[in-house]
Symmetry: C2
Subunit: 116 residues, 2 copies
DNA sequence: CCAACAGTTCATTAATTCGGAACTTTAGCA
DNA sequence: TGCTAAAGTTCCGAATTAATGAACTGTTGG
């Protein structure tokens, strides 16, 4: 495993972020990480969808989030600890991240209450 | 040309919007439409990038924007008049659209001033 | 050293996207 | 009425990107 690449805050782009968030699995993972008190490993999200994700797929999703500059991943022993980069992101992109996450959360609520 | 499909406001999804916005050409078009006083036709954007876009590509971009629920297109004679759906979108998704557009505009400014 | 575990990489297949060429629709005009 | 041009769309092949099973890499504990 090569060393993990995390872009500098100034190299993060709006379109990179939007591309990463355009996948509901990734948006859900980010949302969860952003709310988490502590960092979480990748395998925590194997069952983030109704059917379990293959771990190669999950690994790719984390790579996309990481290289878009949305999460910071750190090796600890055998696992990877991931946390959102919310504070820096907020400084650079203002309300954007928060607004996206809020809209997604509200959409989840609506979906849950109507269609069930 | 079949009749144009515009999703109902309640069928518009966050991930659909983010996917549409993940392409800088589409984001730029939306931004421009959102600021425009009047509706604009597709061909107005043939030169939205440094090299001119093929019109089939542009047509596809407008289709994506339309089907994501971001723009409303109306046939007038031989051309299509497009306008953003900002008011409804704002009601449904709060600050999200505005925050994305703002972040993108700021990024454009930074790019223009540094790299030139 | 060995087994187990977390995650990555590789290779194959599937799905998207790009863009040129042909097509459709509407308007203007002789 | 045609004829022609303009604005978009559709079609299709090529190129790119995404999904995932299988094999692999590190790391830890015994």
């Amino acid at each position: 495993m090569r060393t993990l690449h995390h872009p500098q805050i100034e190299d993060i782009t709006v379109e990179g972020i939007l591309h990463a968030f355009a996948d509901p699995v990734r948006l859900q993972i980010f949302l969860d990480l952003a709310c988490a008190e502590t960092s979480k490993n990748c395998s925590s999200y194997l069952n983030v969808t109704s059917s379990p994700l293959p771990k190669s797929t999950l690994s790719q999703h984390f790579k996309v989030l990481r290289e878009a500059g949305l999460v910071y991943s750190e090796r600890r022993g055998v696992e990877l600890h991931n946390r959102s980069r919310c504070p820096e992101l907020e400084e650079r992109f203002g309300a954007m991240i928060q607004a996206i996450v809020s809209a997604f959360v509200q959409q989840q609520k609506e979906k849950a209450s109507s269609g069930n």
